[in-house]
Symmetry: C2
Subunit: 125 residues, 2 copies
């Protein structure tokens, strides 16, 4: 597949999520993952500690939170600041990339939350 060759050789000027080898697909998966979306949207409120994120997103395990934060940090979507204290004090905030992604995801989430009663009505017809 031509597209995949381009992406494995890193000779592109723009990503293409439809090509499995394009790195944009992996990043898209991280930022739209079950917990990724919710973490990014919550971080729009400002810097949060690990425990605050866990409290605000209902049903997320510590393990899933750690893993998702790691992916988002690798993708340069969030910034992790470790104050090197005992007990640990670690804070997470959006990078400029993360801010843009979170704003776009928030638009989707806000529309979905607002439209939910209408969608549910459609589902029960």
């Amino acid at each position: 597949m031509k597209n995949n060759e381009i992406y494995s050789e890193k000779i592109y000027e723009k990503g293409n999520v439809m090509a499995s080898a394009c790195p944009s697909r992996a990043i898209l998966q991280h930022i739209t993952s079950k917990w990724g979306v919710l973490i990014l949207v919550i971080l729009r409120q400002g810097t949060k500690r690990f425990s605050e994120l866990r409290k605000e997103i209902d049903g997320m395990s510590e393990r899933m939170l750690s893993q998702t934060l790691q992916y988002l940090e690798q993708d340069k979507m969030i910034h992790r600041q470790d104050f090197q204290t005992v007990p640990p004090h670690v804070e997470y905030s959006l990078t400029p990339f993360g801010q843009t992604a979170a704003d776009k995801l928030y638009e989707l989430v806000d529309w979905l939350e607002t439209t939910l009663p209408e969608i549910e009505k459609g589902q029960n017809r």
Copy 2:
């Protein structure tokens, strides 16, 4: 958790994706799933047959395509038209809900594809 009670009793006016019992969370997961995003974005181009969707989204199995299409149909995001022919001719298109979701997801995807070289540079620093 108060929010979850509200949602299990269906006495809400607006969804809340942060509450695990809110139906908006399940719909969000379907439309932002690995293949859900890509299917919605591709369907912005217009009605597609099953085989066309498979061809345009690199790396997706038939099973994952079927399953994701089923979820999206249940959520009233896509419309499935079966022409009841042999061999089967089935077409998929966006509903008005799906069109809005797809447009919002496309904004995210388009930004990500365009910004990818910059993100990658950041990653290699």
